[in-house]
Symmetry: C2
Subunit: 595 residues, 2 copies
């Protein structure tokens, strides 16, 4: 009943018309051959794969869920393994990977578009290959040559999948408490023993081997986060030819029943003297894992972007078709028994809210992916550094802002259906359930907010934030003189000025009382989210204004959504700043026992 049309046109608008990634990539030797034609071709093929092969599995797989069959065997829902086989055969896992290990070496901006579409098609399915990519990045950055040669080609081809094993029953956010132990063996390997929970794609029947990246403590490790090391622990130990050999001592003890992403196995993994190898330096495991976590955080933002898009498409179609009540300003479809509900202002408000979050987020996330390409591949070190800084600053924003909005937006999509939205049949409620986890995993959104304000903004005295502010100012200066841009530029310039003052105020208060950081952080992150989205909406509006007489109604819609964003969504910042400014006292005054 549900449908998914890959939003190729809007992706092309963002990549070619707004960000001009073709030119930007052309300046990088690694991507010199990437051009518009190639990008469009990949988008088309990727969209076809996602909508035709993966999307049809999404709802039945949610109904069926995963099955834990004893002896640690876990079966993914019907059709998942076959779709994964097709995915590998078509070479999709190799898209952005290093050619040295079998990858196609395409830029992140393209990979990002593919990720969005895969998540629209099925977040639960996409998590199986999604985690492999994280394991690939981590081993590539920190593994020994031997480990890289052994594992990377298999992860790149998709023959093997990966996991991240961090959480234990008593520690999630606070990894310093973790207890899994690794005992060194004479041959240089380690025996890993402990209990990990919430391991997504920890066990399944879609690939011939599973490569676990596991945080554990060495016997002599200091306590806390400075005593954590990273190990690679395969499900099957590679034999002399690098093929899956002996079964290793790691077993899935249970899969969790949960609110959403039913089709992805969330595993309790027991390590009982499992053989593993150290990745990176001893006691520096958290550092090595951060490579994987940062990529994963952007990936989570893309999960919500994908869910918002598909939820929106179906809600909009429903709103155009469902006949119910007459427009308050007189019948719009007098020949029908009632008007389609899209005539009602509040239905439009819900749909436009979704559109504004989606299209703004797509521009933001694409730009961030381009920063990742620049950081990886630009020839000029200072350009690479600036891109690294933007990535560091805005990774918590793309994670938390997109996923908070993603939950609200999918819930609005569901609301458009009225009672039918609550019924499984229509598919709308699944997007809400799936979107909910994105606010939690890979660091809760509260943790993202602390990371942004406490670490990314305050630790360098706002230097990185000012660099983003300079981009905004540049746009304001260039466009501020064009009357037709005033409705976009004025509120953006106003917000940018307020953010500067607001950041300084919090910084001053935090020097007196560190709790002021935590008291302001969540509101602060949303304010920065609006600054970023406002910047991209203004850039998009500029392009759309230039082309509004082209006859292509795409630009007309873009301008309408831009106007809606500035008029109806950005005003939230007024409330957020007022709330944050009220300070820590109203939060900290009450005794814990009175809660």
């Amino acid at each position: 009943m549900a449908h998914y049309n890959p939003p190729i046109r809007d992706m092309q608008f963002v990549l070619h018309e707004v960000l001009d990634v073709d030119t930007a990539l052309g300046e990088m030797p690694a991507h010199g051959e990437v051009n518009r034609e190639l990008i469009d071709q990949v988008l088309e093929e990727a969209g076809k794969f996602c909508s035709e092969v993966v999307f049809p599995l999404n709802r039945p797989a949610d109904e069926q869920g995963c099955r834990h069959e004893g002896d640690g065997v876990v079966r993914a829902p019907d059709g998942f393994a076959d779709a994964y086989r097709q995915y590998c055969e078509a070479g999709w896992p190799t898209l952005t990977c290093d050619p040295d290990f079998g990858g196609q070496g395409l830029p992140h901006v393209i990979g990002m578009a593919m990720q969005e579409m895969l998540n629209s098609a099925s977040q639960a399915w996409t998590m199986y290959p999604g985690l492999s990519h994280g394991a690939y990045e981590c081993l590539r950055a920190h593994g020994t040559d031997e480990l890289r040669q052994l594992y990377l080609p298999k992860l790149v081809s998709g023959q093997w999948t990966g996991t991240m094993c961090l959480t234990e029953p008593h520690c999630g956010t606070d990894l310093g408490l973790l207890r899994t132990r690794a005992e060194p063996q004479d041959d240089g390997s380690y025996l890993v023993t402990g209990n990990k929970i919430f391991i997504s794609a920890g066990e399944h029947d879609m690939a011939e081997n599973i490569v676990h990246l596991v945080l554990a403590r060495l016997p002599d490790a200091p306590s806390g986060t400075r005593g954590i090391s990273l190990f690679v622990v395969p499900k099957f130990l590679p034999d002399a030819n690098g093929n899956p050999g002996q079964r290793n001592g790691v077993v899935c003890a249970r899969i969790e029943e949960k609110m959403g992403i039913h089709a992805n196995a969330t595993c309790v993994m027991n390590y009982d003297g499992a053989t593993g190898w150290l990745v990176g330096e001893a006691n520096r495991g958290l550092n090595a894992m951060f490579v994987m976590m940062n990529a994963a955080r952007i990936g989570v933002g893309l999960q919500s972007l994908g869910l918002m898009e598909v939820a929106y498409q179906n809600a909009a179609a429903y709103a155009r078709e469902r006949l119910q009540m007459r427009s308050l300003s007189g019948p719009k479809a007098p020949d029908k028994p009632a008007d389609p509900i899209i005539v009602h202002p509040d239905v439009r408000r819900m749909l436009l809210t979704q559109r504004a979050w989606i299209e703004g987020s797509r521009a933001f996330a694409s730009w961030l992916a381009l920063q990742a390409d620049i950081a990886d591949s630009h020839e000029d070190e200072s350009v690479r550094e600036q891109a690294e800084e933007m990535l560091a600053l805005l990774t918590p924003v793309v994670k938390a802002f997109l996923t908070d909005n993603g939950f609200a937006a999918t819930s609005m999509a569901m609301q458009v259906y009225g009672g039918h939205g609550f019924i499984r049949e229509w598919g709308a409620e699944q997007y809400v359930r799936d979107a909910r986890i994105n606010m939690i995993y890979e660091g809760t959104n509260g943790i993202q907010a602390l990371d942004l304000l406490g670490r990314k903004v305050m630790q360098d005295g706002g230097a990185k934030l000012r660099k983003f502010g300079a981009l905004v100012r540049e746009l304001v200066e260039t466009e501020g003189t064009r009357d037709e841009m005033a409705e976009f530029i004025d509120p953006l310039a106003d917000l940018a000025g307020k953010v500067e003052k607001f950041s300084m105020e919090i910084g001053m208060k935090a020097m007196q009382n560190p709790d002021e950081v935590g008291a302001a952080s969540v509101d602060y992150l949303r304010v920065i989210g609006h600054l970023v989205l406002g910047y991209f909406w203004a850039r998009m509006a500029r392009v759309a204004l230039d082309k509004k007489d082209s006859g292509d109604r795409f630009y007309e819609a873009k301008l309408a959504v831009a106007r809606f964003y500035f008029a109806r969504l950005m005003p939230e910042t007024a409330a957020l700043m007022r709330s944050a400014r009220s300070g820590a006292d109203n939060l900290m005054a009450m005794d814990a026992e009175l809660f």
Copy 2:
């Protein structure tokens, strides 16, 4: 693993200390014997029943769901029928019912407290008896003497349960489109034929008979809403002694799979020449049904209040126990491996948000229930009228504001748990899924907002709203001179002034363009919600200030939550008014085909 402690102390605070319902009820002959002792006794017993008998069923019943066994047989989850038997034996269904039909005649304020606690214990279970009460109210107001004598005693005792059969596949909000037909028979009965969907508690094995109140059209009925009549259609036709006799032609064809309230059967009901009797006048069925719908809308607000309370209690307990990270301002539990997460400002922000919504809503809903008692039982007609007006004005607010907040608050409760919140085991995610339907049924929250602004505020030129405003002004005038009340009274007075201007502005715009109503309505309802909650929070703060030196820390907590509400939640109104003021153009500009 989850727990529920009936919030008796806070209920007593609201009923006795803030609203002084004892005095108010004492003035009504029907409730002259109701006093504090009686109220407290009922609250205690009700709390015990809810927490001990109903609450333990909630999670297993959600897992098990209802079973449709063919031949129209539907089984409620294990234990539901037995709990319902105990509920009836203890006389709980009779609590607020008319003594003429076997009721205890207690006031709505007490019934409301019971409803809140039942919903904390299990919303899905509570919907079985909850719908009976609506059917009782409707038949009592509009049934013939014969129908009343036949059906009311059975509904009051709980022997029979009731349903509301409005929705059809092609019509929910727009009942004017409905197609179910009723053919008059020679004996004065009707044969009802048609198809109804989303019938909560439409079929089950908890009671010996089910009384459907069904909207249908007579053969000669005009089209639209003025051609709808109401019929009572029992599952079993009463025999000569009023006992269940012959099976009637109404059958449950299917139960829906849905996001939440799994333990309540949402039925597709087929009427195939089922025998029914007219309730109220022909073609005035919608009018008769409105009695039921208004009570049901307040009931839905109470569902979310109940869910927020139990979700909060468990999240707060988790936050006091879960050790993770150190406080930013230095260790608070140095003897433990980490601090309990309640030391973190953002965890407190999430918990205090829930508390502020819960306690403010409890005061609001209790006051509204008292208005219902006044409307029913006060001797002075003008006092009854004013109470009726407050009920009419604020019913859409208690429905939509409490349920929007209820979804956000239960989601915040879940967020406190981190990853554990997403796992079924902890129970937190069920409250989110259950809370989601409350924004939809009994009129979507968008419809409530239109009802508030378009009908309740604009149709009488703001007269009813000004009457509520007079209560606010009275409080502002009395308390405005007390310095210690300034932090509560100043923002309330400020908001009250703005609401007046804001309402007039929208009224003026709407005269030019009716779409301005729909464009402002949802934001408007939230603003009014804050005006109402701000009023009750200020009243509660006044009482708490008076007693803050009593040594009872309850008042200390109350003041802390009041401060939090005004500092952190009420500022939302700034954004809402700015968004609403942007008008209809940004919503209506885009062509439907561009969505």
